[in-house]
Amino acid sequence: MDEIKTLLSAKIRSYKNASQRGGKRKLLRAIIFFSMALLFWLGTFFVFFKVLSYFSSIEVIGTLLSSKLLSMVFLTFFSLLIFSNVITALSTVFLSDDLQLLNALPLSRPQFYAARFIETTVNSSWTVLFFSFPVFLAYGMVYSASLSYYLTLAGVIIPFLLIAAGAGIMLILLLVSIFPARRLKDIILLVSIVLVVGVFLFIRFLQPERLVDPESFYLVMDYISNLKAPTSPIIPSQWAVNAIAPFLFDTGEDWWLFILVLWSTGLAFVVMGEWLFERIYYDAWSKAQEAKTARLTRSKLMNRLIELLFKPLPSQIRVVILKDLRIFLRDTNQWPQLFLIGALIIIYIYNFSVLPLERSPMPTFYLQNLISFINLGLAAFVIAAVAVRFTFPSISLEGRAFWILKSSPLKLRTLVWSKFWVNFFFLLIPAELLIITTDLLMNATPFMIWLSAITIAGMTFGITSLGIGFGACFPRFNVENVSQISTGFGGMLYMIVAISFVGLVVILEARPVYLFFISKTRGFPLTGVEHLEIMGLFTIAFLLNILAFIVPMRLGLKKLATIEM
């Protein structure tokens, strides 16, 4: 028991020490993060409260829907917990830096296992627990549950977390015994993202909007019969639902039986995990140490092609671009993000292809151009979201090797601008494709297509500059995973500024476009004042683009020059 306490106290102290350092800046970040989490928490509560209130008002199938939703919530949490436990256990049990020391110490294996089990459970479960609370609170309030509901919920959640953690740790022990640990994290992440994207695309292509179409009303009967179908009784999430449902819907089931099943399974998973840990951990850990070598799949043709493509550029710019491209293509952490972005763009274009514009009571000409204008803002938002994943981290991606550039005779200006141009074209091509394809799908006017194409090109300058500039102002050279770079304070600030910039440009162009279309629809030419107004607003929008292009790059360059390695 003492060993468990000692092992855990080292972790707790590390967290404490880290949280006490950093001063005002850290406090500000904590406040922003906390506020955002609180907003998300309140938002979740509000949405569930509204949905459940609506369900509870529907006769016959209302309770059925709430109960089905509860099953889905528990199933989602269970899947998230298993996934999170597998990823966390891979770090805590196999990849963590302190393992070299701990495995050399005469620690008792059961106590070492217990300490790592607790650490894995806490690290992987707290976020799920935090965000599940508003959901359960909404259920309790809508169905006026008594105190026994909340007590039973606590009795259900604990073994639920134990089962997920036990399963996660056992799964990772077995996986590491078979596959190399250092590639496993990438493989798990990639497969999960591909699966999620696949399911998402599948659901989108089923066209759920057809459900509101009265012609397909017969689907409701299928729907009800599907609701009544029981969920698999061997999944722990269903036991959890069965244990708390009687306190919400007065269904009078044997709730205590399911609590017993949950607890006995949870404890059994802890013991089974310990049994497996004792038997295979050291072999698996030794194997994880050996598997550091990474095979490189190189295409000589691809290498030659990109070298030829950038050959005309000056030596310093060429080598920086080639280095960035090679690292990007070889870093498996980037792939899941590419999949997500790809899926996002496909769904975006698909949505426009199925818009039923002809059924609207508004004039098609007017609607087409209105939506194509909204499209401009949305497409710029998508590009800003792509940039936070790829452009914003481009300076931080130099990582701890930044000393190489800083001690070389490469001007920081050259570095920053070469990164700018690569990212600009990387963003401009999907931006133009997105905007022109969607405008053509909607049969927008040539004026609108040209205006959108030019505006998005201008905004891409600003978005790229903001990404590089903010990335240089808030670099994170020491992160382990590229996805962590954009989720920090700087990434958040970049998104706020980029969205405000996009919003402002769209607002500034809205009035001129409105005046232009009104004059066209009514057949009256524009007046002198209106001409002036249009020119003035376009000029301000142009100036805003220039500002967004120049200022962030200058600030970033200034900050980068003062960074000390």
Binding site: A294, L322, R330, G399, W403, I404, K406, S407, S408, P409
Partner: protein, 252 residues
């Protein structure tokens, strides 16, 4: 080759380097010694242009590092104590990248890369990703990269860390050969034997100040320890005779 003129570096209230002055002549191997936290790495980083002095000037090959950083950096090859590299590049791609940064990507660079790979015993690893390299291999790769542009000055922080005895001997020979051809080496080290064996002149830094500088002979005279090894001189100068006793007791 190097002139440090009353160079200081402060971090808030803490003075890491306190108004130091040094002159390193072309063709010499200059050793920079001192206990942990004395200010060695901070000084080295200022010389490499990784951090800026709070006050004072650093001149390299006649160029003021603050006024003409690009010209000064062109003549320097820097080798840090920890070889953080671009792990997803191969060794060959990395050397080509460094050659490109120094604008020497055409004339004879491929032959030079081949020569350096052979010299640092990395030829058979040149097409492997750096992430699969051991610490010692990475250190040798950084050294190869520091010589790619034929620098006049090598600045090196703890050159022997992570190297096996063969690697360490190779490095000593490379440095000697480099200086014999007119190059200059400024190196910080903890390994007093290496400093004694390789360096022409030595400076000892403690609590941010240079407490002694000169040849081994001059240091012996200064510390009043005739015929002593650099170990004894070092401990006497930094006031660590007690430590020396402990070291000797441990050796027994």
């Amino acid at each position: 080759m190097i002139t440090l003129n009353t160079v200081s570096k402060r971090y808030g209230d803490f003075i890491a380097v306190d108004a130091i002055g040094l002159e390193v002549k072309p063709g010499e191997i200059f050793g920079f010694l001192g206990p942990n936290g004395a200010g060695k790495t901070t000084t080295i980083k200022m010389l490499a242009g990784l951090i800026q002095p709070t006050s004072g000037t650093v001149t390299i090959d006649g160029w003021d590092l603050a006024q003409h950083p690009i010209r000064a950096k062109r003549v320097v090859g820097f080798i840090p104590d920890r070889p953080f590299l671009y792990e997803k590049l191969t060794a060959l791609e990395f050397l080509r990248f460094i050659a490109g940064l120094y604008n020497c990507s055409s004339n004879g660079v491929e032959q030079r890369i081949t020569y350096l790979f052979r010299l640092f015993d990395l030829t058979e690893w040149q097409n492997e990703l750096i992430e699969s390299f051991s610490h010692g291999m990475k250190q040798r790769l950084v050294m190869a990269s520091a010589f790619i542009h034929q620098p006049k000055l090598i600045i090196v922080d703890e050159p022997m860390v992570g190297l096996d005895p063969r690697g360490a001997r190779l490095v000593k020979e490379v440095f000697r050969g480099f200086c014999a051809q007119g190059g200059t080496v400024f190196m910080s080290t903890h390994t007093l034997e290496i400093a004694e064996e390789v360096c022409d002149r030595i400076a000892i830094i403690q609590r941010g100040k240079i407490i002694a500088a000169g040849t081994i002979k001059e240091l012996r005279e200064k510390s009043g320890s005739e015929g002593s090894t650099l170990d004894s001189i070092f401990f006497k100068l930094i006031g660590g005779e007690e430590v020396q006793k402990v070291v000797e007791a441990l050796r027994l």
